[in-house]
Amino acid sequence: IMGGDKAPGKTIPWQVMLSVEGGKGGAMVIGDHWIMTAAHNLVHQGKLVLKEKVRVFLGDNDAEKLAKLTPLGVTSLHPHPEYKTPDNANCNHDIALIKLQQPLTFHAAIMPLCLPPENATYNIGQMGMVSGFVVKEDDIIANNLRYIRLPVVKEDECQDSVNRAKAATPTEKIPVLTDNMFCAGVPEGGKDSCTGDGGGAYVLRDGSTKLFWAAGIVSWGVGCGQTGRYGVYTRVAKYISWINETMEDN
């Protein structure tokens, strides 16, 4: 998280810290048996990692404390079946579910995040919030969970930003922006999510119920916090049916 602040205790109770084969990532609680994250946390070089390699920690904003806890047992991993990125250049359908062995008992420090409502809308300029344990681009683990408020970016603006990035670095394989994604950030830079925050939640708040819901999953971006660049998030509202079917089938 760039340009953000420490999250006080129990303010982001759905935050999960993942450790997969030494790499760090984020995730969110969506049910007493279910964690949602980015598929890229579980699929490395086109292969699904072993579930025994996935370590799940939650319930505290202190990363050091979390890392010392016994990770939660994992029953199964469910990356989206259409997520395919043989060369890390395709981030479409960057979404996955993790089923826990034991049900979670919710309390102030552990609470689920709501799924998108039926008529979920991503209003341009609406302020959302993203959180994570990584402090900046150097992948240094922060001692404390951090968060940043970022607005939803207009699709055209986001596409233009990607196009500019491609033009600037034509040799790099920059992922394609699809309508299963959306952008959030500020054009002036300095405020963004970054590597290591992937899989964490970008939340919006419902105007009438005041409930936070999972609008996006930290997915990819060109650099972090650069001017004219935005973070790209998986548009969770597109995957409601898949999420419900996966949970019901398992």
Binding site: P8, K10, P13, W14, F106, H107, M111, C114, F212
Partner: protein, 397 residues
């Protein structure tokens, strides 16, 4: 030659003169032997008789005989004074047979138009019971009771007597004096006729401390099992008759049951009557231990075969625990009938479906906790999503 088996005689028939209704021939002598089954009398009725009249029926005649004895001799025409016509009066044979003989002389003076006769005969049952005693001195057909039947008769005896193998003589019988109906009448043998003497053979007289009746007495004990009717060899008793009834043993009316009732609820209970006890809703039967049902029978000793149970208030047991919630007791005690509890969830992390803060359950009569919709299913606590208990600062920009 073996005698051919005879078929039973008919009970009725018709006999007519030759050529009837044409004039009968002259110089005729014809005989008819009529018979009906034993036990019947033969009755003959003429439907038509037209025989040439003459004094004493000398020339043409129809003679009726019974065992060769002439009963009547007929000739002439109906409504004519000449001759001797039977008219409509039936002729009854002393027994079960008659013989008819028609004789005509050699002449049939002109104009000859005498047609002869046509007669109908039938069997009439003999009431042997009403007949005078046989002349052979054997006495009445039955010594006591005679029943006339068609073609025969049968004898029976009064109570206290039985029919001998000769099927007509009744002899005294002291057996079969068992009465097992709820009520009835018993009497001395031959009642209302005098009883025979010497009904009992006394072998030994123990003491003189008997009833005041020395010679004839009827002794009835408190619980009659055997009635001794004694007559000595003198005196004349006209016998006796008594009507008896029975009454079933009674059992005491069961006491009232608190929070329950006894059925049927009748003023009196008798031997083999059953009662059932049921409890009011919310109460259970206890007879030392809990029982599902209770029934008791009034025994022959006047006692109920089971002691009365009690009705105790039921309880629903401890309410089932609610995952991620709890239960609070509102009213009642010991989870008894009509106790009230309230389920709630561990808010704000869980809530009841529909958002209610609590659901009321009552201990019902079927020993289950039921909500106000009479549903026994306990609620579920649903996780609350997207609502942290601590908010990020609203003022930070």
């Amino acid at each position: 030659c073996w005698r051919l088996a005879r078929s039973l005689p008919a009970l009725h028939g018709v006999v007519q003169s030759p050529q009837f209704p044409q004039p009968y021939p002259a110089a005729l002598s014809q005989q008819w032997d009529l018979s009906v089954p034993e036990g019947y009398q033969l009755q003959l009725s003429f439907t038509h008789l037209d025989i040439r009249p003459s004094a004493d029926c000398y020339y043409d005649s129809l003679t009726v005989l019974y065992d060769k004895k002439v009963l009547a001799k007929f000739c002439g025409q109906e409504n004519y004074s000449d001759g001797h016509h039977p008219g409509n009066r039936p002729l009854l044979s002393p027994g079960n047979r008659l013989t008819l003989v028609l004789q005509t002389d050699n002449t049939n003076p002109e104009p000859y138009h005498h047609l002869g006769f046509s007669a109908h005969y039938q069997a009439k049952d003999i009431d042997e019971c009403s007949a005078p005693d046989p002349e052979d001195g054997s006495g009445p057909l039955c010594s006591q009771i005679c029943h006339n039947t068609l073609g025969s008769y049968m004898c029976s005896c009064r109570h206290g007597y039985e029919l001998r193998p000769d099927q007509r003589t009744c002899v005294l019988s002291c057996g079969r004096g068992i009465f097992d109906e709820p009520g009835g009448t018993l009497s001395s043998p031959g009642y209302p006729d005098p009883s025979p003497h010497g009904l009992f053979h006394i072998e030994h007289i123990g003491t003189q401390n008997g009833p005041s009746c020395l010679y004839h007495w009827l002794q009835v004990t408190l619980k009659p099992q055997k009635l001794y009717y004694h007559t000595d060899w003198a005196g004349l008793s006209q016998g006796w008759s008594l009507h008896y009834t029975t009454q079933r043993v009674q059992c005491a009316s069961p006491s009232s049951i608190t929070n329950g009732r006894v059925t049927p609820n009748v003023p009196q209970y008798y031997y083999r009557d059953y009662i059932q006890v049921s409890c009011d809703p919310g109460y259970k039967l206890l007879d030392g231990r809990e029982i599902k049902s209770y029934a008791s029978m009034c025994q022959k000793n006047g006692q109920w075969h089971l002691s009365l149970p009690e009705c105790h208030i039921i309880d629903c047991g401890e309410p089932e625990a609610l995952l991620n919630g709890g239960v609070k007791f509102i009213s009642g005690s010991q989870n008894q009938h009509l106790s009230v509890i309230q389920y709630h969830c561990n808010e704000p992390f869980y809530s009841l479906l529909g958002g209610a803060t609590g659901v009321i359950y009552t201990c019902a009569a079927d020993r289950t906790w039921r909500d106000n919709l009479d549903t026994p299913v306990i609620p579920s606590c649903i996780p609350v999503c997207g609502r942290p208990t601590v908010s990020l600062s609203a003022f930070q920009r």
